[in-house]
């Protein structure tokens, strides 16, 4: 009964792959949008390598954010870090009022143009959702469960690794997905500071007033974000199911 949605996703994925590898096949779709014989398909770089660069930036930043945010989340929920817990919550709340673009823009004068400011902005902004979800995942583990684990003679370390983290995993994964989705968007804007990525196509379209570029860049980024978010969501569901919990 789940065949319908799966087929749709597969079709979208195939369409995306064909488009980024052989974009000329689709030139006829975009030609009506061009004026003055402007090229219908982005011609200043291969869409495929731009997509790879985009994904590379997003996932390396997400990996770094995950490591740091989960470590911090574990720290502030241990007895030795509890003093920081209340403040961490406020900080996450305040941090989320910063627009990602502001973080990106402020990083530029500090580290220069190119990949670096984008990576920094993605890393910093990506910390917030993961940290927030690690906190809520770890603090929502029931005290009864923890008592039981203690009663079984588990050390604090084993309780963390064998009980708390597995129980918090679906929520932490949701944070990682949020962070990746936000990063996909911020990385697109990163092209305004000369980071390699799919934003280039949209920016080039805006600069040369070429609607065809804008639309194809927008569609590729949108499709990519929807498919990745979808894939990560099924990982979350899988983790939740393994726990025997209903997906939340």
């Amino acid at each position: 009964m789940r065949a319908g949605p799966v087929l749709w996703r597969l079709a979208a994925l195939v369409l995306l792959l064909v488009f980024i590898t052989k974009p000329q096949l689709f030139a006829f779709v975009f030609e009506p949008l061009t004026i003055n014989n402007a090229p219908a398909i982005y011609n200043q770089g291969s869409l495929f390598s731009l997509t790879l660069a985009h994904l590379g930036t997003v996932f390396s930043a997400a990996l770094a954010s995950t490591i740091i945010a989960v470590t911090l989340g574990i720290f502030v929920t241990r007895p030795s870090g509890l003093e920081f817990l209340a403040l961490s919550r406020s900080l996450v709340n305040i941090g989320q009022t910063f627009p990602p673009i502001a973080v990106l823009a402020i990083a530029v004068p500090l580290v220069g143009f190119g990949e670096k400011p984008t990576l920094i902005a993605l890393f910093l902004y990506g910390l917030l959702p993961i940290f927030e979800n690690t906190l809520s995942g770890l603090t929502q583990v029931s005290p009864l469960t923890l008592e039981a684990a203690k009663g079984m003679g588990m050390s604090p370390r084993r309780r963390l690794i064998e009980v708390e983290l597995p129980l918090a995993l679906p929520v932490i994964l949701a944070g990682i997905r949020l962070s990746v989705v936000i990063n996909l968007g911020t990385a697109t804007i990163g092209s305004t500071v000369a980071a390699k990525g799919l934003g280039e196509v949209i920016i080039a379209g805006l600069q040369s007033n070429n609607m065809a570029f804008i639309l194809q860049g927008g569609l590729v980024v949108a499709l990519l974000a929807v498919l990745i978010s979808d894939a990560l969501m099924s990982v979350e569901r899988f983790a939740a199911r393994k726990l025997g919990q209903a997906p939340s």
Partner: protein
């Protein structure tokens, strides 16, 4: 967010070893203050707007007496942070620290710049921001520990905003590069501010008008609910600039084909695609929270209302919606903060707003111009978050907290 139990456990754990150990958070704050004072530069001096700056330490940035004054106040705050646990004292110390460095940094340009030089730019540097961060951490921590009620939080926000406004109006900061960027763009600053608010609040209003009824329909008809929420979820996933781009095409066709649309100012490039995109992004939180809010109204309450002879319509407006209101308001808070941030991207497609300064600043590598766009955006989002959090607490009423 305010009634979370760890607040109560934190002081207890801390006090167990209080006799000997320092306050850890206060310790971190004290270290930050130390680094900011003795290692990091207080201001940056640049011969003109674009060139690389030279760092000035606190002692070289202010007249001797004032520098020593700032230093002793900051060290005093560090001492309070590390040794005193009483939140009110910590809050007062941090507020005093903020006031002192904010006033002091305004004096730096007059001291650092050679007389008669009008091209030179002085901006707060890493040390200043680090001090601000340290004091702000202390303020945030004390306010969290005090567990202020909604009115007290609103009052604190009003006092902070009034103090900031007085500082800016008094001209104490006029020598700083940020304010010089503002002075040359005062007109466009307020125009972009209006545009930013129009984009963020207008799209929120439109989304509320459409999203509330849509949420009520979804609540009544579960089959539509799944479909609508799925579509809105997908839209929410699309990065802003991509959605702007996708919307530009139909809107530009619309404005070319329908003269009325063009006359109304709807164009492929400009504010229209940004407004529509923000509207679409706003729908998910409004609709989803309306549904969740209505669903969590206890069935017994609805039954009681039915027993009292209320019609379906009366039940919805007099019982279900009022009970769902705090959750709906939470959705609106999410939308407002999100929109105020996303509206910055609108500048990229000619939609205006504070993003205009951010992107101009990136183009000219002028960090103060970036800040001229970024700081008001962050301030607006922050104020919106505090105000709506207070409103949500008030809507929940005292019984629930």
């Amino acid at each position: 967010m305010n009634a979370i139990s760890p607040h109560t456990s934190a002081p207890r754990v801390a006090s167990a070893g209080a006799a000997v150990s320092l306050d850890r958070l206060g310790g971190v704050v004290a270290v930050l203050i130390g680094v900011a004072l003795f290692v990091a530069p207080f201001v940056t001096y640049r011969a003109n707007r674009i060139v690389a700056g030279e760092a000035r330490m606190l002692l070289d940035a202010l007249p001797m007496a004032m520098a020593v004054g700032v230093m002793s106040v900051a060290l005093g705050v560090a001492l309070v942070a590390a040794t005193i646990r009483q939140p009110i004292l910590r809050l007062s110390a941090a507020a005093l620290g903020l006031a002192v460095i904010f006033l002091a940094v305004g004096r730096a340009p007059g001291f650092v710049t050679p007389p008669g030089n009008t091209f030179a730019r002085v901006s707060p540097a890493f040390g200043f921001w680090l001090l601000t961060l340290a004091f702000a951490l202390l303020v945030a921590d004390s306010i969290t520990r005090l567990r202020l009620g909604p009115f007290a939080r609103l009052a604190a926000l009003a006092v902070a905003a009034a103090a900031m406004a007085m500082l800016l109006l008094s001209g104490a900061w006029d020598g700083l590069s940020l304010l010089k960027e503002y002075a040359t763009r005062a007109d466009s600053f307020w125009r972009e501010a209006r545009q930013h608010l129009f984009l963020a609040l207008g799209s929120l209003a439109a989304a509320t008008l459409v999203g509330l009824p849509l949420g009520m329909v979804c609540y009544r008809v579960p089959r539509i609910k799944t479909a609508i929420l799925q579509v809105l979820n997908i839209i929410q996933t699309i990065p802003s600039i991509a959605l702007f781009g996708i919307l530009m095409v139909p809107l530009s066709i619309l404005s070319a084909k329908v003269p009325l649309a063009a006359a109304l100012g709807i164009h492929g490039i400009g504010a229209a695609p940004a407004f529509v995109a923000l509207f679409l992004y706003s729908l998910l939180p409004v609709v989803a929270n309306t549904v969740v809010g209505l669903e969590q109204v206890p069935a017994s309450v609805v039954d009681a209302a039915r027993g009292m002879g209320l019609s379906k319509r009366q039940r919805l407006f007099q019982v279900e919606l009022p009970l769902a209101f705090p959750i709906i308001l939470t959705g609106i808070r999410i939308v407002l903060v999100q929109n105020l941030g996303l509206a910055t991207v609108a500048a990229l497609i000619g939609g205006g707003g504070f993003g205009t300064f951010v992107f101009q600043g990136i183009g000219q590598t002028a960090i103060d111009l970036v800040l001229l766009g970024a700081i008001p955006t962050v301030a607006l989002s922050f104020m919106a978050a505090v105000i709506l959090d207070a409103a949500i607490d008030l809507a929940r009423g005292p019984s629930r907290d």
